[in-house]
């Protein structure tokens, strides 16, 4: 009896521990209004005492959907039209069936937030006036117009592929381009038409004319939060809290919030906090920690250095033995060199994405990808260094009677050290550069300000990531020349 009580108590203690260790994880897509929505949810839950974590600009729709299903994240803001016409398009759902379809995935949807953040096509106002274009149909009069659509829009089943057939569009210059870079293209006149979100602040900033969807191609894109149904047990207040934001954020409100971020250079969380304080009677005033550029730099440096150190250390530990095996057993060696060579040719972005189903998002999958990427230079240089040892030296080591192990440690590795060090150095520099892509899967680091900088077309922010990354590479070079001086004896210099 006593035992049972103790067991139950223990179970509850463990349960609380697990729950305490697991905050509600919110993630957002790579555009400003989605990030602001994420911050609104984050602060809103937070100020009701729920522990949360927000990973801004973690990935695009497909990525977040998979992460949500895998339990990597708990909540993300999405749009009904995107769910119906893209994510779940195969099921050919009617809007009223969406709730039950989501339930079958173990997911739920909050009440609509009050905005239809539709896709629209847009042109520069003066260009549209010049050509007298008001609707999408009007575009057909000018088959030479150049279209620059976001890469997502190019592929999505509610995007260009069906838009083109709905309107029978004759245009041939249609390019996929990053959404944030498309604005740069419009501004410089290299493209004429792009896709916009109804809430984009850039519509105003760049003086764009939204073209009327006169054939009603685009569905409703009601903004909602999608969350895992198991949150109702893990954090029972969350559904009601999310629903309490019902109809609170109209397109106009959202656009003005976006404007404050893009043009006013306020952070998404500042804007979200201001919105919540203005809209609701808050029990606890929202206090945002002041984050200076230096705090951020410190944070990104820490994340970046950890990514590089762990992946590089693991790569060194594994690659040198692999290189030795490759040199000692030529047949196995060509297999090893072949495999690490193939790994190296996988584009780094793809390698990062391959890691997600295996390891989720964040630091660990990025480290594994960087580790795999760092193997080749070290394995190959270790192999080359050992193979390149002149025969008389290798023969002398055998002839004086050294055991294979002693020969390796006392003669071969010291002679190959220079080549091995060069391999490690190459790996380190490649690793530091590639680690900036880690931000794409939520690993942080110097890639984070670069991503944000691209989104806000803020060169200063991009440099805040690019310059420290370059400096870090230089520091690594310096450290290695010091290490080399210690490791490479006088006799070999």
């Amino acid at each position: 009896m006593f035992c049972r009580v103790a067991l139950i108590l223990l179970f509850f203690a463990a349960h609380t521990l697990v729950c305490a260790a697991q905050p509600v994880r919110i993630a957002t897509k790579r555009f400003t209004s989605n990030i602001v929505l994420g911050d609104i949810a984050n602060l809103w839950l937070n100020q009701s005492g729920i522990e949360t974590e927000h990973r801004p600009q973690l990935g695009d729709t497909r990525f977040l959907w998979e992460a949500l299903l895998a339990g990597e994240i708990d909540i993300y803001p999405d749009y009904t039209g995107t769910l119906l016409r893209e994510t779940l398009v195969r099921q050919e759902l009617e809007p009223f069936e969406l709730d039950s379809a989501l339930a079958s995935y173990g997911l739920r949807m909050s009440a609509p937030l009050g905005m239809n953040d539709s896709y629209i096509l847009g042109m520069k106002e003066d260009r549209a006036r010049e050509l007298d274009v008001h609707t999408i149909s009007d575009l057909n009069r000018y088959p030479d117009l150049r279209f620059g659509f976001s890469t997502q829009f190019m592929d999505r089943s509610d995007g260009w592929p069906t838009l083109r057939t709905t309107y029978s569009m004759p245009h041939t210059f249609v390019r996929g381009i990053d959404h944030d870079l498309a604005y740069v293209g419009i501004e410089s006149g290299t493209i004429d038409v792009m896709d916009l979100y109804a809430t984009d602040a850039e519509v105003e900033i760049y003086n764009m004319r939204p073209l009327e969807d006169d054939l009603g191609h685009f569905p409703e894109y009601q903004a909602v939060f999608i969350y895992r149904a198991d949150l109702a047990t893990r954090a029972p207040d969350v559904p009601a809290l999310l629903d309490s934001l019902r109809e609170a954020i109209t397109v106009e409100v959202m656009r003005s919030l976006n404007f404050r971020v893009v043009e006013g250079r306020e952070s998404e969380s500042q804007v979200a906090a201001a919105f919540l304080s203005g809209e609701f009677e808050l029990e606890n005033p929202l206090v945002l920690e002041e984050v200076t550029m230096w705090d951020q730099l410190r944070q990104h440096t820490k994340e970046h250095v950890i990514l590089v150190l762990f992946s590089l250390a693991a790569a060194i530990l594994i690659s040198i033995p692999l290189g030795i095996i490759a040199a000692k057993l030529p047949r196995l060696g060509s297999l090893i060199l072949g495999i690490v060579g193939v790994i190296y040719t996988i584009p780094s972005l793809a390698l990062l994405v391959f890691m997600i189903p295996l390891l989720g998002v964040g630091g660990p999958p990025a480290m594994v990808a960087l580790f795999l990427y760092s193997l080749l230079p070290i394995v190959r240089n270790t192999h080359a260094g050992l193979i390149g040892i002149p025969q008389p030296l290798s023969e002398s080591a055998d002839a004086i009677g050294l055991s294979p192990m002693a020969k390796l440690l006392k003669v071969e590795l010291p002679l190959a050290a220079q080549s091995i060090m060069a391999g490690v150095q190459t790996s380190a520099v490649i690793n530091i550069g590639t680690a900036t892509l880690g931000a794409l899967i939520g690993a942080g680091g110097y890639g984070q300000p670069i991503l944000t900088g691209i989104r806000l077309s803020d060169t200063g922010l991009i440099l805040q990531g690019a310059v420290p990354a370059a400096l870090l590479a230089l520091v690594a070079q310096g450290v290695f020349s010091l290490v080399e001086r210690v490791f490479i004896g006088e006799g070999l210099r």
């Binding site: 023969e395 002398s396 002839a399 009677g401 010291p414 002679l415 004896g489 070999l492």
Partner: protein
């Protein structure tokens, strides 16, 4: 001391060494001579177990050379190659003492042995602290000989030890090397492509040709009783020979 029975070596399709018998007497110096590529180094490598013969067996002091005893036999064999084969990342002293340290000889024993050998090969003491690239060719060879002799081996194998030296230095070292060999009373096999050197060192001479032993005998035998036409021509081709006969 050393018995090679029917040893041969095939590299790919090329026969580097035909099945060969060779018997090396204890305490004698045998010179191995022949044109370049005739299989001298191959024969020597087989003797020290660096190359496993395609056929045949090697017997070292009554023990047949095999996987299990190869390392202990190598400790009883010194091996010197052209240009020394010194490890460039180690000082001369460490090169010389590497194996003894690996065998955990005491520091005292090691330094006594170093002193002994430095004297024997006439190496300036200062050279010991230098790296091979800081030594002259002659000094390198002296260090290399010290390394080969360090564990006091029964058999000393030298593959063209003086081959890469200038004539003057070479001449001096020849004299010294011979006196070392005589003083130590070890079994020595010395590869050379110079008949003068061979006859200067060798109690007996093994003349090789195209992967075979053409004749094994004393200098007198080779000059006066050549076994075949090749030996006759080879001996005639060596100029200044009469001085050594």
């Amino acid at each position: 001391m050393l018995e090679l029975r029917g040893v041969s070596k095939v590299y790919g399709r090329a026969l580097a060494l035909h099945p060969t018998d060779l018997s090396i007497a204890r305490g004698k110096t045998t010179a191995l001579i022949g044109p370049s590529g005739c299989g001298k180094s191959t024969l020597l490598r087989i003797a020290v177990g660096l190359v496993i013969p395609t056929t045949g067996t090697v017997e070292f002091d009554g023990e047949q050379l095999g996987r299990e005893n190869i390392r202990s036999i190598r400790l009883r064999t010194g091996y010197v190659i052209q240009k020394g084969g010194l490890f460039p990342h180690l000082t001369a002293r460490v090169n010389v003492t590497l194996m003894a340290r690996h065998l955990r000889w005491s520091t005292k024993r090691i330094s006594e042995r170093v002193d002994e050998l430095t004297e024997l090969v006439h190496l300036p003491t200062a050279c010991l602290q230098r790296y091979p690239r800081q030594l002259s060719g002659g000094e390198c060879q002296r260090v290399s000989i010290m390394r080969a002799l360090f564990l006091d081996p029964d058999l000393l194998l030298m593959d063209e030890p003086l081959g890469a030296l200038d004539p003057m230095i070479r001449f001096d070292l020849q004299e010294e090397l011979r006196s070392i060999c005589q003083k130590l009373e070890k079994t020595v096999i010395l590869v050379t492509h110079d008949m003068a050197e061979a006859s200067f060192f060798g109690d007996s001479i093994v003349l090789m040709f195209s992967g075979r032993i053409a004749q094994h005998g004393t200098m007198q035998d080779l000059v006066n009783r050549p076994a075949n036409d090749f030996v006759k021509r080879f001996m005639r081709a060596q100029r200044g020979l009469h001085e050594w006969v």
